[in-house]
Symmetry: C2
Subunit: 350 residues, 2 copies
């Protein structure tokens, strides 16, 4: 028998945050691709688009009008998935038909009045303002009695279901702790109870010692490709000090967070010299009034691209029914991201 080589042989890796395994098939990167290609819309967008419902001063789809804002602008989503209204519920729960009303608030956070920008193209000071607003929003929503969890996220690129290219993210705040967050919390908690340290404190220590999956780091944060990443270029930003949530970030930490977001997303754009699509979001402690010493602030980046700006990884079939599967190894992805410049390709002097 040949000896096992993780760069050649199929294997499974364990994800301790979700208590799940994933399948890694390093040998599969060579297969030819005759399937769907994405349309790359590397258009140069104007600074202002009269048709855009997020641009400063424009009319939104529901008839509301945006103010003439400069910088960041936050408003309640006109077509939110949650409603803030309280409803009376007395339905009987029987058998397999268990259902519960859910209350919440959906907000849109425009990152800039400039329609043409994306996070990696903004100056650090401007990204720092976005982080400030995330912190403010977190504090404001956390203060509401019926809000127990706040999901801050960004869908970037039309391939990620983003319905508008204007730079923006979303905040969904709700009464329940959503499924994936609850699962993460359960595993963080049992780890913390056993070890008196957070799972991510210990994990990050081991990753920094190993080095091979680290993409970039600064004083307060590290960005790495998790050992158990399922998307080809999936990464995670983890706070070096244990922080339960963004509320306690100092000015310096917020600045440091902005720096690493710019660094990481610039590498992403430089990878295929395209505006790199992803869904990204922060996982942090619920705002349910309970103690959460087990929580450790982190931000997930789930980008779909695999081989080029046109060829994405399809999480379908086997992946939907059985188990997430990836082709290149996390170590290979990290090495590639690590080697990329942190000057945005659009700024290159020609």
């Amino acid at each position: 028998n040949t000896s096992f080589d993780r760069n050649k042989h199929p294997h499974r890796r364990y994800n301790p945050l979700l208590d799940e395994w994933i399948l890694v098939s390093p040998q599969r990167a060579n297969r030819p691709w005759q399937g769907q290609k994405e349309i790359t819309t590397e258009e140069d967008r104007p600074v202002y688009d009269p048709e855009c419902y997020l641009c400063s001063g424009n009319m939104r789809a529901n008839g509301a009008q945006n103010p003439e804002y400069k910088g960041i602008y936050v408003f309640n989503n006109d077509f939110g998935a949650l409603l803030n209204e309280e409803v009376d519920f007395s339905e009987e729960q029987s058998g397999f038909f268990a259902l519960l009303p859910e209350r919440g608030i959906n907000r849109v956070v425009c990152f800039s009045e400039n329609h043409s920008l994306t996070l990696p193209e903004m100056p650090v000071e401007h990204i720092k303002n976005v982080v400030d607003v995330w912190q403010e929003q977190f504090n404001e929503l956390a203060a509401l009695d019926h809000i127990n969890y706040i999901q801050i996220f960004e869908n970037k690129g039309s391939i990620m279901g983003c319905s508008n290219p204007h730079p923006h993210g979303q905040i969904w705040a709700q009464s329940s702790i959503p499924a994936m967050v609850q699962k993460t919390q359960d595993h963080l908690k049992s780890y913390f109870e056993k070890n008196k340290r957070t799972l991510l404190e210990d994990y990050l220590e081991q990753e920094i010692a190993a080095g091979e999956r680290i993409v970039t780091e600064n004083e307060h944060f590290a960005a790495l490709v998790p050992f158990w990443a399922s998307w080809p270029y999936e990464t995670m930003i983890i706070s070096k000090q244990k922080r339960e949530n963004i509320a306690t970030f100092s000015e310096e930490e917020k600045e440091s967070f902005a720096v690493i977001i710019k660094d990481l997303t610039t590498r992403y754009d430089n990878l295929f010299e395209t505006s790199f699509p992803y869904s990204a979001g922060i996982h942090q402690s619920p705002t349910d009034g309970k103690e959460h010493p087990e929580w450790h602030f982190h931000m997930h980046f789930y980008p779909p691209l695999l081989r080029s700006a046109e060829v994405k990884k399809f999480m379908v079939g086997y992946e939907m029914l059985a188990e997430p599967q990836r082709d290149i190894t996390p170590e290979q992805s990290a090495a590639i991201l690590r080697s990329l410049p942190t000057i945005h390709y659009k700024k290159k002097i020609i």
Copy 2:
């Protein structure tokens, strides 16, 4: 306060197979869509395509040549995610870096030599032949000592990552029980131990009594939109009698299964008068030599389309980070699918 109405108010529903909640936002179906639209390739495909690597007699990407087959043709995937080769493994598992080699076999099942067909367009007898081959393959692979689980599935449509439009499915057989199957099994098992009936026996009984989520049924199978479905038109085919796996299906049951597959997939095509994309696959007992009285044969269909042939549901952002979310209710989807004709739209007399 208004009284709760599940057709108007956001709520969460419980999925007992995965022990997870999903978010339902019935009020959200009205939001305007300015995002990505899919290209509908409703091309008339030729019966034979000289460029297709699955057509009868053609050369495949790796240089192998297909026989001049008629009907069904099965071969080992040239670029499989698994390798059948046994490897020696002695790596030490330390800390967060847990990894195990995985062995297995990937097969491709061409459903027909006719490049232009899809399952709903085939006669029932022909679909019955596909079911026969699934059963044969299951038996053959189950007999191998190192194969403990067999995932039979189909990715249909380029939007579902299907790299070739020739009608075909796949079989991934492997030594471990994959993550989602293991989870399903855990919940089936604890239900069975408590109730001495399978979870799906009891669930199906309640669904047939309720009626509102049933799409279609025949003597041996029912197709329904699960109470906890997350994709807009997600369905499940469940065997009416408890069957642990396909091995024990009688001729009559296989015929009945073929009939319900044709019925359901024809409704799907008729919904938007397009070749309806989906990932579909069978969940059944592992082949690990253990007793599995908890298992109950079922087939999941996960179709991405939401509003039309062009507009799909994006499971991104909130859904990747927090919880699956759907816009129309499962009852609305079931009513629509139930109302559709079972004559394929391409066969309509004009």
